[in-house]
């Protein structure tokens, strides 16, 4: 064991620059995930503090003001639920990254006599170390963006900094949660690769995702109809739980839809770049979905909140509500866009590193750098455009019955906002352009 540990350490230290890049990417991802999570939790707490439950709890008859305050807290919980899953997904992406690029080193360790258990342990320790480092950096980022968040105005007044600063205990709890996510997703992805002394298993035809995913999603939709809709005044926790289940269900069916779309696209792709993009999408629909799924959800939320208007606001508080719904949805979209862009950027960068030899071979054989860039951009743009168009279309179709009440300017703003969010995620692919240039340098 000592020999293996020594070798591990030496390999770590001797790692070439391209071995360090994935580590840096993983730390950045953990940092973004932690910062986003802290902002969510801080916002949620601030809403709860502003709108304390009246002494009688929810049992007694609430004043209009208290009922409205209660609505704010419920909405904050819903927004947080929507954001937590993509944030945790980003944590998982980072953990996989921390592990995926270790192939050669892990194989070297196995050759040196380390057992598979020892290798697993060392790898997880490394992923956890990166998670701790990233999470601590995330705390710093969170503190740095607080003044910006504090400028947001809800219920007629901006936040105060002290409303948004989390107590140390809760901050540490968030950091711990990120590290746990890293270890759990690291362990689950390690369980899927057998690290032999000769490297990790080669890629074969991808397994088809089960249609069971579709059944599951339909069941969740039915649950929404049957459980929540008949309730006159559903409990906040019930809404949050069922909503969480819905999001999980959408996340289950999403990759399946992406896989089917990818296969169809691969069959029809007319050019080399689109063929490569479609094959990559069909090959790894889950990672494609990770990049675009949350954004689709955010687009739906923004759509409903910005297009649905509160009927005849009478009190000033109700007037604030209409504005605040839009602001809250926008904040959700911004956070999800940042998290989604980070996921996409990191996954794309990792893929270039994984395939740098193939990139070089393509370049030697006369593939222009432009073609390589185009294939990568398409790989993200195709599912992104599809998801955003589907989500925005879904909202607009559902809103059709109320089309007389729809404000044309609001619809335009909604469509533009969605497009901008998509463009930001797409732009994250540009971050790894220099990696492509390095990988495809022929001489």
């Amino acid at each position: 064991m000592r020999a293996a540990t020594g070798l591990w350490w030496r390999l770590r230290r001797a790692g070439a620059a391209d071995n360090r890049v994935p580590g840096v990417l993983a730390v950045v991802s953990f940092a973004v995930a932690t910062a986003a999570l802290l902002v969510c939790v801080a916002g949620l707490r601030a809403f709860e503090a502003r709108n304390p439950l009246p002494p009688g709890g929810l049992e007694g008859r609430l004043s209009d003001e208290a009922a409205l305050g209660n609505l704010y807290v419920t909405l904050a919980w819903i927004a947080t639920t929507c954001m937590v899953i993509p944030i945790l997904t980003l944590g998982g992406v980072a953990a996989r990254l921390a592990i995926a690029r270790r192939d050669q080193r892990l194989a070297a360790l196995r050759l040196a006599g380390a057992t598979s258990g020892q290798v697993t342990l060392m790898t997880l320790a490394e992923a956890a170390a990166q998670a701790v480092l990233g999470a601590l950096a995330g705390v710093v980022v969170y503190l740095a963006v607080l003044p910006l968040v504090a400028r947001l105005s809800f219920q007629g007044r901006p936040f105060e900094l002290r409303e948004l600063v989390l107590p140390l205990g809760q901050t540490l709890a968030v950091v711990a949660a990120v590290v746990v996510v890293a270890i759990v997703s690291g362990a689950s992805s390690l369980a899927r690769v057998a690290i032999s002394p000769l490297g990790v298993a080669a890629r074969t035809s991808p397994k088809r995702l089960s249609v069971l995913r579709v059944v599951l999603a339909l069941a969740a939709g039915a649950a929404w109809m049957l459980v929540i809709t008949p309730m006159k005044e559903p409990q906040r926790m019930t809404i949050v739980l069922v909503l969480g289940a819905m999001i999980l269900a959408v996340n289950a069916v999403g990759p399946w839809v992406v896989m089917v779309a990818g296969r169809v696209a691969a069959r029809l792709a007319p050019t080399a770049a689109s063929l490569l993009a479609a094959r990559r999408i069909a090959d790894d629909p889950k990672s494609t979905w990770r990049a675009v799924g949350a954004l689709g959800l955010a687009v739906v939320i923004v759509g409903f909140t910005s297009l649905a208007s509160v009927d005849d606001p009478t009190t000033p508080l109700e007037r604030y509500l209409a504005d605040d719904l839009g602001t809250g949805a926008l904040v959700t979209l911004v956070i999800i866009t940042i998290v989604g862009a980070t996921s996409t950027g990191v996954v794309q960068a990792a893929r270039v590193l994984d395939q740098r030899e193939q990139y070089r071979a393509l370049a030697l054989a006369g593939t222009s750098e432009r073609s390589l860039h185009r294939a990568r951009a398409l790989e993200v743009a195709l599912p992104l455009a599809m998801t955003i168009a589907l989500s925005a279309g879904f909202v607009l179709v559902l809103m059709l019955p109320f089309s007389s009440a729809l404000d044309g300017a609001l619809v335009v703003r909604f469509v533009v906002t969605s497009a901008v969010a998509g463009a930001v995620v797409l732009a994250s692919v540009l971050a790894s352009r220099s990696l492509v240039r390095t990988a495809s340098r022929v001489a």
Partner: protein, 297 residues
């Protein structure tokens, strides 16, 4: 359209035994038939050895870094002619400059001095962009390990270079499919590279290198990762298919068994051609240390 049709083999061409007892053929002069090549691209390409289709290197010098501190040049004045349709093995110890030579000939590296003439143009003076197009359209590459894209089925890996060059997908796929039977790859079209053996993957790589019907195929240790039997199989297919598409072949190798499959052999030592032989029989006969054996050109 198959451009690998045994019935169209030139009269008197060597019979190449098939596996398992693969043996290198008696080296033949440049082949006389270029079956299936389109007339347009063949114009000026004459089996008699039209100099326009020879790949000619003149006085190639390659120095890495600043010459003062970099020690001896990687290439120290290499003259070489690869005739149309000819196969040439480049041998030499590690660090002798053989891979540098291949990269310069293929327009991957720009030499510090000298010329590389291909179809009347000096590759060394071309822009980066022109050389990229040249590598895509006129040259084919086979590497030590297939370097196939793992996401693409074998057939799409082969069709990709054509599609990158602007050929329609249906035509690219048809041309790629035509190469599978002669390479013994029938039925493997839909397999991913991860589902192919080393020899199969290398034969897919050969198909990819030849699908655009290049004038020259460059192979860098194409059998470096294979056992002797598989290696012979791969060389058999590589030389056979290159011959029948009329492509010249430059193989960098340290394996004499591989070199025997080629028409000619050059040995590189310290960046210079140390010995040259017209027939692969001479692989063993030529002692690079013996000055009398060095053929100057």
């Amino acid at each position: 359209m198959s451009y690998y049709d045994p019935s169209r083999m030139p009269a008197g061409a060597p019979e190449r035994p098939t596996s398992p007892s693969l043996a290198p053929p008696v080296p033949s002069p440049a082949p006389a038939v270029y079956a299936g090549r389109s007339p347009g691209r063949d114009s000026g390409r004459d089996p008699g050895g039209d100099p326009g289709s020879d790949l000619v290197a003149r006085g190639l010098v390659m120095t890495y870094g600043r010459s003062a501190s970099a020690g001896p040049p990687a290439l120290g004045g290499v003259d070489l002619t690869i005739r149309a349709g000819e196969s040439l093995a480049v041998m030499g110890p590690s660090g002798s400059g053989k891979t540098t030579l291949l990269h310069v000939l293929a327009g991957i590296l720009r030499p510090t001095g000298g010329q590389v003439l291909w179809r009347g143009r000096d590759i060394a003076r071309m822009s980066d962009r022109e050389r990229t197009v040249l590598r895509r359209e006129d040259f084919g590459f086979v590497f030590q390990q297939g370097m196939l894209l793992p996401e693409l089925p074998a057939i799409e890996n082969v069709a990709l270079p054509l599609m990158l060059g602007g050929t329609s997908r249906s035509e690219a796929t048809a041309r790629a499919a035509a190469l599978f039977p002669p390479l013994g790859l029938s039925g493997l079209e839909k397999r991913r590279p991860g589902e192919l053996s080393g020899g199969q993957a290398q034969r897919v790589a050969i198909a990819r290198a030849l699908v655009a019907r290049p004038g020259v195929v460059f192979a860098d240790e194409p059998t470096g990762a294979l056992d002797q039997t598989t290696s012979a199989e791969v060389m058999h297919h590589l030389t056979q298919l290159a011959t029948h598409t009329g492509a010249s072949l430059v193989v960098v190798t340290h394996d004499q068994n591989v070199a025997r499959w080629c028409h000619g052999v050059v040995r590189v030592r310290d960046g210079r051609i140390a010995a040259e032989a017209d027939a692969a029989d001479a692989v063993d006969a030529v002692d690079p240390a013996d000055p009398a054996a060095v053929v100057a050109r």
